[in-house]
């Protein structure tokens, strides 16, 4: 009885695979070193959080107490740091081209005089919007600084007219906007990128690992031996082969979860069971994508090339950088062809929004379909493994 548990086709394949893994440095890279190394780099890139103190040049033609106060206020913002003062607009333009400043703030002559006369005066901000993230942050940060000054002037005018301070404040801000940020209290771009980048790397290593593990059998002509160990059953052979990889990738996933929660203070709200189920399905789904690619091409290297493109593209279509609903129809359709899309949907629904469980059923089913797709391909994979034409020729 005990013998049957320890000595069946499945455990035989499993044992065979474990000894193959132990002897292969490349496989160790794919299942452990690569994921951990890339997590370390991702965490290091995004550790600082929000970009701060971007260099801004100031052209102050007014050179008055008010203009100097405005410059100090801009310098005091978190996002901007005044790096150059009292240059001409022409010089400032050159430093934008040379990449030494990100924006130029221009105060025309007569600004203070106009303010004192009760007239309107304009100050101008030229932002290098090549990088829309940096440009947007600079624009809104400096806008707030100028607005603070402007409001101060307004309140003084109102108070001169006899209003008390609280009245003055109500007068200058008739409609106040109360912004409630849902689900991501940090509104920090780093969290968006890191939370998608780490699972993307998991996906890359899972897919390449599965193709490498199976492909090596095909090209090195060990496929028949592999199938024999599994009692000539392709499904058993695949299960025994891929189970060690599933466990190793789940280890990396646990490290990722730990880093997200403990290290990046990521707010997890929803039901963790659904997330873990999703992570298991995500790994199996990508392994099965590997099975599909190998079955269709019968060529390990071509499968790896296709797989690397396929796994990278998933990032774009996860909707995290640019929302999928903002894409053209064909791209929106395309997004559904990546298991990663369903994972992000599930992750944001459960992890961030604490959405009702019902809304997580569809993405989980989406992942499941990819798993079944691989299972349906097993007869074809068996033909590829047994057919000599796919053997590696020198």
């Amino acid at each position: 009885m005990l013998n049957r548990i320890y000595n069946n086709d499945f455990t035989n394949v499993l044992r065979r695979e474990v000894s193959r893994i132990i002897g292969s440095r490349t496989t160790w890279f794919l299942i452990l070193i690569g994921p951990l190394l890339s997590f370390f780099i991702v965490i290091s890139i995004f550790r600082e959080g929000v970009p701060a103190d971007l260099p801004v040049a100031v052209v102050d033609e007014d050179n008055s107490a008010t203009s100097r106060q405005l410059i100090r206020m801009i310098d005091a913002t978190r996002i901007a740091s005044v790096s150059r003062c009292a240059v001409t607009l022409e010089e400032a333009r050159e430093s934008i081209f040379a990449g030494t400043v990100e924006a130029v703030f221009y105060i025309p002559a007569g600004m203070e005089a106009a303010v004192l006369r009760g007239e309107k005066s304009d100050v101008t901000l030229f932002v290098n919007n090549t990088n829309v993230v940096k440009g947007g942050l600079l624009q809104s940060g400096i806008y707030r600084a100028v607005n603070t000054l402007s409001t101060g002037v307004k309140m003084q005018t109102a108070m001169k007219g006899g209003a008390v301070q609280s009245q003055a404040l109500e007068q200058v801000y008739p409609v106040r906007l109360d912004s409630r940020t849902l689900f991501n209290p940090f509104t920090n771009y780093a969290y968006f990128l890191a939370t998608a980048l780490m699972p993307l790397l998991i996906v890359v290593f899972t897919l390449l690992g599965a193709i490498y593990a199976i492909g090596l059998e095909i090209r090195n002509d060990t496929g028949k031996q592999w199938l024999n160990t599994a009692g000539d059953c392709m499904v058993t052979a695949l299960a025994g082969k891929l189970v060690p990889y599933i466990f190793m990738m789940l280890f990396s996933v646990s490290v990722m979860n730990y880093l997200l929660v403990r290290f990046m203070d990521f707010p997890f709200h929803g039901y963790w069971g659904a997330l873990i189920l999703g992570q298991i399905l995500l790994i199996v789904a990508y392994q099965m994508v590997g099975v599909v690619l190998l079955s269709l091409t019968g060529n390990t290297r071509l499968s790896l090339s296709l797989a690397s493109a396929y796994s990278m593209m998933a990032f774009t279509f996860s909707g995290l950088t640019f929302p999928v609903i903002g894409m053209p129809l064909v791209a929106r359709f395309f997004a559904h062809l990546f298991p990663f899309y369903y994972w992000m949907d599930l992750f944001i629904g459960q992890g961030l929004k604490n959405a009702p469980m019902v809304s997580s059923i569809a993405p989980l089913l989406g992942l499941l379909i990819f798993c079944l797709l691989g299972w349906m391909m097993t007869p074809r994979l068996k033909r590829v493994v047994l057919d000599d034409q796919y053997r590696y020729k020198i």
């Binding site: 906007l177 771009y189 990128l193 290297r301 690397s308 593209m313």
Partner: protein, 395 residues
């Protein structure tokens, strides 16, 4: 001497054509070195083709239901970013719609909205925006912000007019120091124009590195005596091999430069202020640096699959380390220094300066020299590694 140079250049030509043939006979390599350069930009370009997200559906909860509150609702609907899909009577209904995914934001107008405005008090409009998707959050907030600011400005001016302040003065008093923002080089803040130019550079680099490694690994596997040279030259003279191979990849990538820099730019109307000359002046040392780096790295791959396995995961990292979407100033110094090993880290920012912003070569001279130096150093490194590999092969 003269004879030696002659045979040397003949050999370079032979290795050049050999390598080109090898590329075109290998489906996997061809896919990475040539076809990927067309497919990647097209797919990314289509995904981001709309540039900005417009008409995000929001729901307005109007508890006031007066002429003023309805006007604010209309102004939100009229904003470029948002479209009001429905009005509901309670926050609970709005919440339900939100979780069903029908709307991406909720605007709440309180029930004493108009009365507060009439009695020159202050009123608060709440906006609930979905920050799980960054772009949606930004657009929702800025849409509502702009609508309510415009609405508020109208209220302020009406109040001042009521007090007998003349129109012109009222306008001036409303915002005594106004900020005019000029968003240079990408005025609409388009996502395609932001991401694709730098992405093209990283794609050029990564496909070239992986492609070279793929063929290098294959050769090593075939156990061809790749680094030794037939008798005419003394053994170990690996120069012709290196330059022949480098020439072949450089040639293929000149085609890719035309595809990515002319065709893709035209197709997606990417911002191009620069002249082609400074762009090419940067592109030549960049491609040479990447080619020699690829050839140096390829000596470590003993199997043809290895280049994909060990290098694909670096692609998204190289992208973020280049400072394209994440400012390099926020990356720790040691990592930024390490990232300089990739030519893309130097290339991406200066390429954007030249191509998107229209800076001249004089503005990016430093980077030009850095890339050239990188090309020379990687060539020397490749030469040494080829030499070591040739010796090992002989032994």
């Amino acid at each position: 001497m003269f004879r030696k140079i002659y045979t040397g250049s003949q050999l370079v030509a032979r290795f050049f054509t050999d390598e080109l043939k090898a590329v075109f006979q290998d489906r996997g390599a061809l896919l990475i070195l040539l076809i990927a350069l067309v497919i990647y930009p097209v797919i990314y370009g289509i995904a981001y083709k709309n540039e900005v997200v417009r008409n995000i559906p929001v729901v307005v909860v109007d508890l006031d239901n007066t002429a003023s509150s309805r006007q604010l609702g209309r102004m939100i609907d009229a904003s470029e970013q948002l479209v009001v899909t429905s009005g509901v009577g309670s926050l609970a209904d709005a919440k339900a719609q939100f979780y069903q995914g029908d709307v991406s934001g909720v605007v709440l107008i309180p029930n004493d909205f108009e009365r507060e405005l009439m009695t020159s008090g202050q009123t608060t409009v709440s906006v609930y925006s979905d920050a799980a998707y960054f772009m949606m959050y930004k657009q929702t907030l800025s849409g509502v912000l702009r609508a309510s600011a415009t609405f508020g400005a109208g209220v302020e001016i009406k109040r001042m007019l009521a007090k007998g302040v003349p129109m012109e003065q009222a306008m001036a008093r409303r915002d005594p120091v106004a900020l005019q923002s000029v968003m240079l080089f990408n005025p609409a803040g388009g996502y395609n124009s932001f991401v694709i130019p730098g992405l093209l550079i990283v794609i050029l680099q990564q496909t070239l590195l992986i492609g070279i490694g793929l063929l290098g690994g294959s050769e090593r596997e075939r156990r061809r005596r790749r680094f030794t040279i037939p008798g005419t030259l003394h053994s170990g003279a690996v120069m012709p091999v290196l330059f022949g191979k480098a020439g072949a990849y450089f040639f293929i990538y000149l085609i890719n430069v035309v595809i990515t820099q002319v065709w893709v730019y035209h197709w997606f109307a990417l911002p191009s202020k620069g002249e082609l000359l400074p762009v090419m002046a940067l592109m030549v040392p960049f491609l040479l640096a990447v080619t020699f780096m690829g050839l140096a790295v390829s000596t470590f791959f003993s199997r043809r699959e290895h280049s994909i396995i060990f290098m694909v995961f670096l692609s998204p990292l190289a992208l973020f380390l280049s400072g394209l979407s994440w400012p390099a100033s926020a990356i720790p110094t040691w990592l930024n220094g390490l990232a300089k090993l990739f030519p893309s880290t130097t290339m991406v920012p200066v390429f954007l300066q030249v191509r998107t912003m229209g800076a001249g070569l004089n503005h990016v001279a430093g980077a030009f020299y850095t890339l050239s130096l990188q090309a020379v150093l990687y060539a020397l490194l490749a030469l040494v590694l080829f030499y070591i590999a040739a010796k090992r092969n002989k032994a």
